[in-house]
Amino acid sequence: MKRKGLRKALAAAMAMALAAGTMSGCGSAPAKENNAAAEGTSTSQATSAAAGKLDTSKEVELVMYVISDRPAGQDAVDENLNKLLKEKLNCTLKINWIGWAEYANKYPLLFTSGEQFDMAYSATWLNFVSLAQKGAFKSLDELWPTYAPNNFAATSEEAKQQATISDHYYCVPALHATYNAYGPLYRTDIMEGTDWDGKMETFDDIEKYCDIVKETHPEMEPIDQYSTAPELQYLYMKSQGMAELSNGVRYLWYDPSEENPKVFSNYDYEGTPAFLDKMATWNQKGFFSKSALSDTDSTKIQNGKAALKIHNTETYKGLAISHPEYKLAYSNMEKSVAHLPYTQDCMTISNNSKNPERAMAFWELLTSDQEVYDAFMYGVEGTSYKLNDKGQFEITDPDVYNTNAMWAGVTDSLNRDQNGTPDSYTTMIDGFEAGIKSGEGKEKYVGFTFDTSGVETEIAACGNVQQQYWWPLELGYTDASTALADYQSKMETAGIDKIKEEAQKQLDAFVASQK
């Protein structure tokens, strides 16, 4: 009698273990069926006129994940948008937020938990490529051209190339061009009354500027440097026209102007010792704190504690709008301006989405309908934003609602400028676009993505060495004459040569495919 009870209990425990197993497995099985179903229907639809076939008779709720903190005024925005969506597509949209404090842990778990949702924001900095390689997203080969034909047509070939991982489309990139421009953004208000020549084109100019800051505003740190990766060498390499292998691998470089570029590392580059000498001088002069790498204050330039920051044009625009009194200026030092990878911001569809067709149709609507776009991006006109006579938008209260965090939705043809955007920014961006020639310089390599799946161990180890030995070297904390060799030997034991070899192989294959 009792023994039977025990056996039963054991069986129950086993059943629970099995249940746990199938639970984690179920993310895949139904998804596969869905996929097959979608392919079946869409191929038949592709032959007959495509998009009109979408069945919208049933009302559905689409769930979208974005990375950001939920704005206080989101409810009003949702209500307004859902009224529109209900009428146009018989659906409503529910946005879920993953906060800044937890995204690094929570975001990858989205795809393991088996949770039902339809769309998610993704990006290079959220490891889009590696997640796609590991099968986190639904293939969009059929869905995208069928249910979002205009979006598909508007997406450039380079962008499609990047959305393709292992021969399938896994994301819809933003219809928004971003540029690899990089350089110092710096305050000019503090230069008034000094003999500054106003030039900011080279590292020597930065040095002159910082000397003056040090002299006239000793309470400020000339360069905004805190505990994240220093940007100085990155900018230096870019100013020399070199391209980094990928966003996560900033210690391997190639020269895009060469016919068949060779991959090389920080210590292979001939300019490195001279650059490090310069940094040692900057450190001596106190251009950044000697304890900068332990400083967690990321808002030094915003709060007037630093004078110059090395970053991209979007940071410049944001700061120029919020702090017009600083009279910020920007100088691009990137030698070969090109578009950034289009997967910088993109939309992915979940493996276990119940309504992938409707989700894609929503995306089509969002990226082609001004009314929906405004309601999605800026909120309720008159309440959360106002339009001025130039068609620029102005956020009423940024603490209540400040544009949608689904950056992948930003569409250049529908996008509005923000009130207060400096003219210099607009002319600069126009200049970039005009200067880019397809297939030349870095633009030729926009479609190149480094597939890290074979060398993940080495990348994890090298990333560590980079942080432990290169960052202090770059900021002149350690003596370059000995520390550079030390860095090299540590990188070699960490397996940099294997990454280099793999990168060279992929780069050669890419170059060959471009001919």
Partner: protein
């Protein structure tokens, strides 16, 4: 074979007899056992991820096996031993200092006569426990910052050259140890205070009548009576010796590579290595490695203690 079966059967029938006898007790224990099973034992099946090339579309059980490849990055550049050594040494140092201080504080507090002073000082010592490591990290930076830190300001006013503490890895184990003790000793002392309060006050009275002074009373009564508590506390702490207090190290040291050789523990190394590439298999491998080593350490320590005095052993 046969005999084994017989003993198995015997054990089982003993067990069922036991159940029959103490039905009520078993029913009362059941929810707790179930909770432990569901939340501590079942999730262990997830450990197999450490040996798999995890793919989101295939799930935990469907992904392909890839042997020990996930463990490779831990030892790729020889850092595996360094961080294991650091983790163990830091924990030993912190274990000894924070427990020793806690015992001292507990004795001082119980020997105090003024009730108000006793309560006030106990609260003040306890307070750091409520301060999060994030805030402590800011304290540390503001003390040791080269340009504007308190330390260098003091040195400057004393006419001494400033020191760049952030380029001296050797002093960091002590800095970390000081802050760790400062944060934990108040909390730990509460347990010892409870143990000391539990000692029969008649013993103290008898001792003072016989002429024992305060130091003798502490030496011969207090310390022997709290020895079991100290041993249990030590054993409990040993169990987490392979787990670096991630928050403490991360907030105090942060991204400062110059200090890594002296301050890197397993948790911080894994965090840094994998922040870039969200490889679930590699993270699982790291915690698997920690768990196995923890298990070994607990078993060894427990056996040693058992040999010395069986009563003090955990199991």
């Amino acid at each position: 074979m046969e005999r084994k079966g017989v003993t198995m059967g015997k054990h089982l029938s003993n067990f069922t007899k036991e159940v029959k006898k103490n039905k009520a007790l078993f029913i009362m224990a059941a929810p707790a056992v179930l909770l432990v099973l569901v939340f501590a034992y079942l999730p262990m099946s997830g450990l197999i991820v450490a040996f798999k090339n995890y793919r989101y579309d295939l799930g935990v059980f469907g992904s392909d096996w890839n042997g020990l490849a996930n463990f490779a990055y831990l030892f790729q550049s020889g850092t595996g031993w360094l961080i294991t050594k650091n983790t163990i040494l830091y924990n030993l140092l912190n274990l000894v200092t924070s427990q020793l201080l806690a015992v001292l504080i507990a004795i001082f507090i119980t020997e105090m006569n003024s009730k108000i002073f006793k309560k006030v000082s106990q609260s003040i010592i306890f307070l750091p426990y409520f301060i999060s490591w994030v805030i402590v990290g800011v304290f540390v930076y503001n003390i040791f910052n080269y340009e504007t830190g308190i330390l260098n300001n003091l040195l400057a006013s004393a006419g001494v050259d400033p020191v760049n503490v952030y380029s001296m890895p050797g002093v960091w184990p002590w800095i970390i140890c000081v802050f760790n003790s400062w944060k934990w000793c108040g909390y730990n002392s509460v347990i010892y205070i409870a143990a000391i309060t539990g000692v029969d006050s008649q013993i103290y009275e008898a001792a003072s009548i016989d002429g024992a002074n305060i130091f003798k009373r502490i030496r011969y009564i207090t310390i022997p009576s709290i020895k079991p508590t100290v041993v249990t506390m030590l054993l409990l702490q040993v169990g987490r010796i392979l787990r670096g207090d991630f928050e403490m190290f991360y907030q105090i040291v942060g991204n400062n590579g110059q200090l890594f050789d002296a301050t890197d523990v397993i948790d911080t190394y894994v965090f840094r290595s994998l922040l870039q590439n969200s490889n679930i298999g590699m993270t699982a491998a790291a915690s698997f490695y920690q768990s196995v080593l923890c298990f070994v350490i607990i078993m060894v320590v427990n056996t040693v203690i058992k040999h010395i005095d069986e009563e003090y052993a955990l199991f």
